[in-house]
Structure formats: C-alpha cells, structure tokens
C-alpha cells in the first residue's frame, strides 16, 4: 500500500516537473507564492483604482452612526467618528503602497549606487562609505525614523525621506558585498582589457550581475517599510490626520477596543496581511532566482 502511494507521489511530481520551465513555471509550482502574488495584485488594483474611482470621501464624519459593527451598509463597520472602515482601509492601501514604493525606489537607488561605488573602488572610498553605512545601521530603525520625522515634520514626502534614510544603508551594504565578489570575475577584467571605463563596467557588468539579490531583499523589506509607516502613524508622527492610514486607524481605534473591536481588528489584519504577502513573495523570489536551487522539494 505504502509503496503504491509513493509511486503515486512520484508520478505526481513528474507531472509537476513538466510545468517547471522558466520563472513563471517555478512561480506557478509554488502555491504560496501564487496566492501571495494574486493578493498583491488585488491590493495594487485597489491602491490604483481607489483615487481614480469616485468613492465617497473616507473622511466623511457621521456621528450618529459611530462605532457600528459590520452591516450591509458598512461591510466592516464604522469608527469612532462614524467613518466607513472599508472605505478608509481602501484609501489606506493607496497611502501605504505608494509610500512604500517611494521608499523602496529611493533607498534602492541610493543603496545600489553607493554600494557599487564603495565595493568597486575600494580603498579610502570604500572605508568612508562603509563607515557611513555602519553609522546608519547602528541606530534602531524606528527610533531613527522618529528622530528624523521630528526634524522634518509630518507629511508624505517627509515620511518617504525619513524611511529612505533609514533603509538605504542595508541595500548599500549588501550591494557592496555583491560587487566585491562580482568584480573579481574575469569578464570584468576583460572589460578593462578592452579599455572600458569604470562607469561602463559598473553599468554593464557589476550592477546587472549583482542587483538580483538586492531586489529580493528589497521585496522582503517592503513589508517592513509598510510596518514602519504604520508604526510611525500609530505613534502619531507620520502623516497629517486627513490622510487615511492603517497605523493611524489602529491607534485611534485602540481606545474603543472593548466596545467596538472592528476599528482595530481590520486595520491590524490589513497590515499583517501585507507584511506576510511581501515576505512570502520575497523569500519565494530568493528561492526561485537562486541558480543552485534544484526546484521542487517544497513540501
């Protein structure tokens, strides 16, 4: 009996292996990644379409209908000012994803650039940049972001700046390490032999060959960025109060946790879900892009 089962399993895996060609096939092979990507796509649709479609203002206050449980009219209930929670969550998706995208773009750009220069040139340039990276990494992220926000004041741009300042150093360090190993490759030497300049070598050889790892880290990190956004807003220092945001909703709802828990449960679920989605996709990408990965043995 057991032998038969094993044969069945083997047959099944061989059927699966037929699908394994290219990155798309590898993604389809892993249900967790597929589901996460579908959910992420849904979030993106919400985030992009929300500002375009004409929903009612998420800031409309209706004190007669405050602290309501979910109902047909308010699918996720209303908060302490009678604002529709679903509406505010959807608006918060736009806020969180766009800020996270901005933070990732800026910190990736700066991190890749500085890491590449530092790793490639070495010597005093590397020492200088490495110490700067060390300084930035030595502060606990959220405290550092709080301090910067204290200087800059609240606002979308300031929040993006503050979180980018916190996050770039991680990418720079990883990129530096990658470049240190990639630059020893002989194709870099042959580029030098044909007389290529330093920037040409970085652009053509070093960055394309080392960027995959950094992008995987950035994907996992987007979840953390969103968590940081929520945390700063929970502490009341991120965005002005007229911009709906999950962390701020959580913070405002915590006073009504006993009487109307929906105000905290749903934003909390949203934050958790997004962080988990990005972690799964990031780690999945890491497995898939790993050239030493044989594929398949995920049980």
């Amino acid at each position: 009996m057991i032998g038969l089962e094993i044969t069945c399993l083997q047959n099944k895996s061989s059927v699966f292996s037929l699908k394994k060609d290219g990155i798309a096939g590898k993604i389809l092979n892993r249900k967790d990644i597929t589901i996460s990507i579908l959910l992420l796509a849904l979030l993106f649709v919400v985030a992009i379409s929300y500002p375009l479609l004409d929903f009612s203002d998420p800031n409309t206050i209706d004190l007669t209908n405050k602290n309501l449980a979910p109902s047909a009219e308010n699918p996720l209930g209303t908060d302490y000012l009678g604002r529709d929670i679903l509406n505010r969550l959807a608006a918060g998706t736009t806020t969180s994803l766009s800020i996270a995208a901005g933070v990732s773009a800026i910190s990736l750009f700066v991190g890749i650039f500085i890491g590449c220069i530092s790793g490639y040139y070495g010597g005093i340039i590397d020492e200088t940049f490495s110490r700067i990276i060390d300084i930035f990494l030595s502060f606990p992220g959220i405290v550092f972001a709080l301090t910067i926000m204290g200087f800059l004041g609240s606002g979308v741009i300031n929040l993006i700046l503050a979180l980018s300042i916190v996050h770039w150093a991680k990418y720079a360090r990883l990129m530096r390490g990658q470049v240190l190993s990639i630059k020893e490759n002989e194709y870099v030497l042959s580029a030098k032999i044909i007389g290529a300049g330093n920037f040409h070598i970085m652009r053509k050889h070093l960055i394309p060959n080392s960027v995959a790892t950094v992008i995987v880290l950035a994907t996992i990190d987007i979840g953390h960025v969103i968590l940081s956004i929520a945390a700063l807003n929970f502490l009341g220092i991120g965005l002005p109060s007229d911009i709906p945001e999950w962390g701020a909703m959580l913070s405002a709802g915590k006073e009504f946790m006993r009487t109307s828990p929906y105000q905290t449960i749903f934003p909390g679920m949203a934050i958790t879900m997004v962080v988990i989605i990005f972690s799964i996709i990031g780690e999945g990408l890491r497995d898939i892009l790993d050239p030493n990965d044989t594929g398949g043995e995920y049980l």
Partner: protein, 310 residues
Amino acid sequence: MSYLNVSSVCVDFLTENGSVKAVNDISFEMNKGETFGIIGESGSGKSVITQAILRLLPSNAVVSGKIFFESEDLLSIDNKKMRQIRGREISLIPQNPAGSLNPLLKNKLQVAEVFEVMGVNKKEGIKSVLGMLKNLLMKEPAHILENYPHELSGGMKQRLLAAMCLSYKPSLLVADEPTKGLDSFSKKGTLDLFRHMKREHGNSMLVITHDLDFALEICDRVAVMYAGQIVEIGAVTNVLKNPSHPYTKALLNALPRNGLIPLNGHTPSRINLPEGCLFYTRCNLRSDKCGSERPVTKSNKGVIVRCHLY
C-alpha cells in the same frame, strides 16, 4: 628602440606575511611582428608579467622597473592614456575564456561592448567581428552571436574572445595560457587559430604558456621562467631543442615523450628568497658556488642563460 622593452621589472605583492616577490628582475625585448613565448611552471610569474604590462595588477602589487611599448613608458603614463592603449594597442586574450564573458549578455552585446568602448559604430563593428569569426574557422557566426555565453563550448568562447580582441586590430596581442585546460583536439584547434592569426593578421604576439609543444610550434623566441626570474631566453629551437639551463632540461625531461621524469622538490618561498641560485635545491648539476651566489645572465651559444655552469 625595440617594440616592447621590459627592463628590470620586479613585481612584489604586499601581503600580511611579507612581500611576495612574484616577478624578480625580468628583462626582455620583443620585435615587431615577432611571436614571443614565456614558458614556465604554474606560479613562476608568467601571468603577472602580462598584467604588469597592461597595468591590471591588484592594488597590493608594487611594480618597479621600466616597460616601454613603442615609445610609451607604460608604467608612468596616466590612467586615461593607459585605457586608450588597452584594447586599441595591446589586447589580451584572457586565461579563462569561460569566465571572461558576462553570463547575462548575449554574445552580440558582448561584442558590441568593445565598439561601444572604442566609440565606433556598433553595427559596423559587429559586421567586422562576423568577418573575423568566419576567418577564425567558425561555422555560422551570425547564429553564435545570438546565443548566450553558456551555450557555447570552450573552444567557441575562445574564438569569440579572440575575435573580440582582434577586431580593433591591436598591434600587440597577449595570450595568457591559450591551451590551458583544453584536450588535445581543442589544442590543435587553438594552434590552428594562432597560426592563422599570425599569418593573416601579422600581429606581434606575446604568448604565455606552459605547453612546451605549443610554444615550439608557434613562437619565434621564448623565455623560460622559474620562481619569478627568466633563466633562459633565446630562439625557440635553441632553447627547446638544445636547452642550456638545468631547469629547461628538467622541464623537457618531464614531457611524456621524454620519459615523464618528474622534477623533485618545490619552488623556493617567494617571501624569503634564498641567497644563491633559486633553482639550487632542485638542480642536479649544482656546485657550492650555486648555494651562495645568485647567478647573473650570460650569453652562451646564442641564448642568454642565468646559470653558473656557463
């Protein structure tokens, strides 16, 4: 003035354990159109010389001496000038063709890179490489350019690299161990390739190899290196048919057809060089003088040899 003039070049690598004398007082000259070979065992400093000529040594290397190429002093010109000489004037076919192509770029783009760097029209450049590839006995060159490096065999990669190196018609071609890791069939292919390059393009070539038969076939003159020094230098037939230095003799005796007689012992530590001849401990013709006094180069029967015997 000769074409390439290397005089009293020393290369030291600064390491934590002291400075390693990879190349120790090397001098040789090359004439235009000549194929000059440098032979010797692994670690004798052959590749370091090529990198010293192109100034591609790592930052912990200290180079002293003079290297003149035509009338340029290669060790003192600025980096910009050096970049213009690399590829245009002096080109190097690297030691490991497999590692020398960027795995992410299609071969066409790798080739185009050469012309991008040179500031030449890419399309015309690719056309000239296609012609070159056809010249280098390669079938379907257009098809090959559409592939990625991992889709080519070792010999094909080598030809592609050779085509890239030749495409800008450098006046000096440096080949670093072109037959390394190839089976005897591919070696023959490489030999044909080099003969072809010599005949068709008339390049001056500096060939680094430890393949004595290959050197015998392709080179006009050779230098034999041991522990960072040139021990014998002269016309290839003189050196390899009628060796003077005990080390050259030992190298030839180690060939399978000469009885595969191994050379005992190890090369001396390059951090603390012995006082006398560097080959003293392994030499079977040594005398007391060899242990205490470093021999200087002497002329003997048409070759220059560094040994107390002559």
